[in-house]
């Protein structure tokens, strides 16, 4: 036993898979110790806030601040003027201001802005310059103006008695605050989701729930598959025929479909996390049954089993002492795969709206489902679903690696 475990950990594939899996598991348990926010707290008031640190606007404005001799206009210009805007400016300068193309360098923002300021005439009338286009150019000019401005912003307070506005503070273009001075801030490493929840915290909680679903589904599937496979393989005859017929049936009829039918039928009220795990487990046993059965059949006529039979041992005793120990490695491998496919099944089920009907906990599938329903994939809010996809892929990658590693240890002919 000790030797086998040693051998297993010598397999590079198993080790890599094991490390990834343990890391994921560790994060699930350690993260909540340090970040104690409620994972489903709706903290953001809108959909999909970008990842980053959010500091209190008021506090930042009222903060004493520091003066840094750093002109912010240039970087503001760079953000205001994308490739499209620069091309528009170039087009205008060539077509309507009569500047030769060779004199314009689109890559030099500063130079082109300078040219623009010298040559742009908002009242220009020319052939082909429709009013829509003219308006577009005006908007462009305004945004350039805005970006170039460095005169500062005045903050006013309303006088409680007279209702007059009184200048309270001027914020200059060169005014900066140190984020450390600001007390009210929160970092969303992965932004927020459609409900305004912190994606990272939610993701950690969801991973934990999904792993639990996978584990329960895997346990159920393995238990059912193991029992059916043992009975079919050991008893043989009619029993074997019936079990194999059912197994083949449920291999050909996609389990995904049965999963949908059952999940829909149990109704939203009954469909909690446990129920979903249970249903997934009950629909994914055929694989295990198949492999356990073939293993048992090859063991059934071995000498040590025959010896036990001749000694008059009971069927249970033979199964437990002469068969189970030999197929234990297969069962473990099958279970590892079942866990991984259970997690995937939950995700797919949730994506078509048949996942756990709950708002109390998140699962990886539900996070995916919410993100898709709020079109995160169409409006570029990658942080709401990419991390989920990566976590699912990593979990299943690590479990599969472990499975391959075990396979190579226990089936040496597969070693290459």
């Amino acid at each position: 036993m000790k030797n086998t475990i040693k051998q297993v950990f010598h397999s590079g594939k198993f080790l890599v898979g094991f490390i990834i899996f343990v890391l994921i598991l560790a994060i699930c348990f350690i993260y909540p110790v340090f970040v104690t926010y409620d994972p489903l707290e709706m903290i953001g008031a809108g959909n999909f806030y970008k990842p980053g640190t959010y500091v209190s606007q008021e506090e930042a404005a009222l903060n004493e601040g520091y003066t840094l001799n750093m002109d912010a206009s240039e970087s503001r210009l760079a953000t205001a003027l994308g490739v499209e805007e620069l091309e528009k400016m170039q087009e205008y300068l060539i077509k309507y201001a009569g500047i030769a193309e060779k004199d314009i360098d689109v890559t030099d923002t500063e130079a082109i802005v300078e040219l623009w300021q010298q040559n742009y005439n908002p009242d220009m009338k020319a052939k082909g310059l429709t009013s829509a286009k003219r308006k577009a150019y005006r908007r462009l000019d305004a945004s350039i103006e805005n970006a170039m401005k460095s005169s500062g912003v005045i903050i006013a307070e309303e006088d409680a008695e007279s209702g007059e506005l009184k200048e309270a503070k001027t914020i200059k273009g060169t005014g900066y605050v140190n984020t450390k001075d600001i007390v009210n801030k929160r970092t969303f490493i992965l932004g927020t989701d459609n409900f305004g929840r912190d994606v990272l915290t939610e993701l950690v909680a969801a991973t934990k729930v999904s792993l639990r679903i996978g584990l329960i589904a895997g346990l159920i599937a393995t238990a059912v598959g193991l029992i059916l496979g043992l009975v079919a393989g050991y008893v043989g005859g009619v029993v074997d025929n019936i079990i194999m017929f059912l197994t083949n049936l449920f291999t050909v009829i996609p389990s995904f479909i049965i999963l949908i039918l059952i999940s829909y039928s149990v109704g939203t009220n009954a469909r909690g996390v446990m129920m979903v795990a249970f249903i997934i487990g009950l629909t994914s046993w055929p694989w295990t049954t198949r492999s356990v059965r073939s293993q048992v059949i090859s063991l059934r006529n071995r000498d040590h089993v025959n010896l036990s039979k001749l000694s008059g041992h009971s069927m249970f005793r033979i199964i437990f002492t002469d068969i189970l120990p030999y197929i234990a490695s297969y069962v473990v491998m099958a279970m590892i795969l079942q866990i991984s496919s259970g997690i995937l099944s939950e995700a797919q089920l949730s994506m078509i709206g048949l996942g756990p009907a709950t708002t109390k906990v998140a699962t990886l599938g539900l996070m995916m489902n919410w993100a898709m329903q709020y079109a995160a994939h169409l409006n570029g809010s990658w942080w709401a679903y990419f991390p989920v996809v990566i976590v699912i892929a990593l979990i299943s990658f690590s479990l599969n690696l472990m499975n391959t590693g075990l396979d190579q240890v226990f089936n040496p002919q597969l070693r290459d």
Partner: protein, 334 residues
């Protein structure tokens, strides 16, 4: 020849039996549960939805067609009779469209998407796996872990990745639908072009997923075959290496066909969910509509059609396998 006939006969019989079972399951499973279709329909009516007259009409239609008040076995045969006529009732969510009409328009999108995607992915995966097995070394060491990882990304995950890169960031492919939203299906060039454009992302996400798994399986199969005795013997008879590689890959590929048959259901399930990401007008998206719209008739028809599709695909693969691999024939003669 006799061996083949026996093989085909058995296969056909078995699939017929499976089909009957699948049909029964499709009918019985929802009715065994507390939320059976009848109460689901009743709940809709009582819930006082927006268009209560419409819902009432659907219920009447359903009760009449499917004999809800009759005993279960009578219901089953009525339901079966209607299904055989292609009549699945009227949809709740898209009233008054008949379910068969919705299915009919969705099913071809799915077939046209998944069939070529799975075949192309299978072929490319096998070729890549074979190359990895033959070349080994650095290529193998670098490519294999990559494919191992890729094959573990769920189909919908791959779909979101492709969507993000090619549609949102690069803007070179449309993000959703089966054709431009401003078009009405017809046979004009614009429409066909739009369909082809919309086809790319769903197609490649299924292909990429399929490639990963197949490449890994093919690689280990090929390595096993490359060490087979017949390889050495053929070499010593002076047969060219390129020809021998041909033998090896053919032999390695045959078990991959069985593998395909076994995993077809899982693959199609994953691909259906990937459709949803692109709002592709196929069965996957229809399933989602049915679930969100609490549209029982539509859902039940969807699951039945998908099951039948998977069964047919499996049958075709197995029959094909019987023709290609002489080992099957040899087994039948024993």
């Amino acid at each position: 020849m006799k061996g083949y006939k026996k093989y085909y006969g058995q296969k056909l019989f078995w699939y017929l039996l499976t089909l009957i079972f699948a049909v029964i399951l499709n009918f019985v499973l929802p009715r065994l549960m507390p939320g059976d279709p009848v109460s689901a329909i009743a709940a809709r009516a009582v819930g006082g939805m927006t268009d209560s007259t419409a819902i009432q009409k659907v219920i009447n239609d359903y009760v009449e067609k499917f004999g809800i008040n009759k005993p279960m076995y009578q219901q089953f045969f009525m339901w079966l009779g209607n299904v055989l006529k292609g009549d699945f009732g009227v949809s709740f969510s898209q009233y008054p469209r008949p379910v068969s009409d919705i299915i009919n328009s969705a099913v071809w999108w799915t077939v046209a998407l998944q069939l070529p995607a799975i075949i192309v992915g299978w072929l490319l995966g096998n070729i890549l796996g074979a190359i990895a097995a033959y070349i080994r070394g650095v290529f193998d060491k670098a490519i294999l872990p990559f494919f191992l990882f890729v094959s573990n990304i769920p189909a919908f995950g791959m779909a979101t990745i492709l969507l993000f890169v090619f549609s949102i960031k690069l803007g070179i492919a449309p993000a959703s639908g089966g054709y431009g939203y401003d078009l009405i299906p017809n046979v004009s060039w614009t429409f066909v072009k739009s369909v082809i454009g919309h086809y790319q992302l769903p197609f490649w996400s299924i292909v990429l997923i399929t490639i990963g798994g197949q490449a890994i399986g093919m690689r280990s199969m090929s390595i096993y075959e490359l060490n087979a005795d017949y390889v050495k013997y053929s070499r010593f008879l002076g047969i060219k290496d390129s020809k021998i590689v041909g033998y090896v890959f053919r032999n390695a590929m045959l078990p991959q066909i069985t593998g395909l048959a076994l995993s077809l259901g899982t693959m199609i399930g994953g691909a259906l969910v990937a459709e949803i990401i692109f709002s592709y007008p196929g069965l996957g998206t229809t399933l989602l509509t049915a679930v969100t719209g609490q549209d029982y008739p539509l859902l039940s028809a969807c699951t039945l059609i998908i099951t039948i599709m998977v069964l047919i695909a499996n049958l075709v693969v197995e029959l094909l396998y019987g023709v290609i691999d002489p080992r099957v024939k040899a087994n039948q003669q024993d």
